[in-house]
Subunit: 225 residues, 2 copies
Amino acid sequence: MTSDAPAEGMTASKSQLAYEWLRDRIVSHRFTPGYRLVLSQLAAELGVSTVPVREAVRRLEAEGLVTYEKNVGAQVALVDEGEYVTTMQTLAVVEGAATGFSAPLLTNEDVSKAREINQRMRDSLEHFDPRRFTELNEEFHKALFLHCPNEHLIDLVHRGWSRLRMLRSSTFSFVPGRAVESVTEHDELVDLIENKADPIEIELAARRHRTATLDAMLTFQHAHD
Amino acid sequence: MTSDAPAEGMTASKSQLAYEWLRDRIVSHRFTPGYRLVLSQLAAELGVSTVPVREAVRRLEAEGLVTYEKNVGAQVALVDEGEYVTTMQTLAVVEGAATGFSAPLLTNEDVSKAREINQRMRDSLEHFDPRRFTELNEEFHKALFLHCPNEHLIDLVHRGWSRLRMLRSSTFSFVPGRAVESVTEHDELVDLIENKADPIEIELAARRHRTATLDAMLTFQHAHD
DNA sequence: AGATATGGCATCGTATACGATTCTGCGGCA
DNA sequence: TGCCGCAGAATCGTATACGATGCCATATCT
């Protein structure tokens, strides 16, 4: 598992602070793709030297949020449209697999918890807030692969989410109609789990669910050219 | 795609050199898991200051090859047995998916190329060299997901391989018998692709292929306790 | 005028220095 | 004896300093 936050009660290092500060600005789109990250500037703004900032930047590079060129510098990663597509595809694969591995291990309680979250999603459709809806969506899926015994896989899912947040604040803000379908598919997915369906079937259902969101996004976009 | 090597003709930075130097020692098992990486020592040995070494270590941390503890230091990542299992599982998932995405796009030429590699694997069974066999194995699978349009996914496969190399020099040196089965399954996999089977079927076959190697490893190990 | 050389500026890359933190082993105390 | 606390050493974390590199504007040559 990737540690994004420092241990509790421990004074975070400056490089850690710089990392969080930068990451926050990037995922919240205050630093937009292409924005040049000049070490001395950031250091001055943070009130630290360039060394910890440099480390933070390299760390973000390793996560793909920032691109780096030797002797030139860093900038917030530029993303072509394809990036969004491949990230969603990859996420479909790994999230699906994690869900499939987890499904047989979920208790009845886990399942009702998931249903409850989905109900909250359904309720929120009235006063639709894409940001909030996406948060709940992550919470829902997290509840499903809760017991996936493969830490790596879960880490990959989190990385995917993180990358996605950087690319788009929320897919549902682009294709609002997709939200309703999504909630329905969630119920179907939980049904499969509750009925102890073949894990492979569950995995593929979870994958299709995300692929469907991607397709909705793409067709919507093509229609508006 | 993760850039592990610097661009051609460009003098590599010292941090890059330190990174390669360290990584090489870790994957070749000259630095064994648990080995403490003391910045000043490494710096002295490399003839550089601690700063670039530090950067190299953090980079390796991001890749999971070393673990790091604030104010304490780094060591080559310790791996419990479970690590090997989860890495193989994850690899089964992503490599399978990459193969599935690539399969419909492979030309006849690509397919014969893969068959040729597999034939070389079969030939090498006479004078069996696990290391060499593993190399050919990677080459074979690389030929299969050659046209996978999803860069992320391919990157994940490479990361998986890299991690695996660190955990074990070669699975086949532990379970020599698995090599023969492996070659057979390769042929079956290529058959599926050649017959334009459903990509999902191809994906799951590729996944089972790797899972089978994992299972062989585990049963072999259990038998020797 | 257009292409090429040149100088200066912005920024990166790394060395060195030093304070901060953690670990270790020893001595005192119950 | 066994536990606590306290130097001292080892090591990390960061600031500062400066050389190296790439970029851009201007000057020079054809």
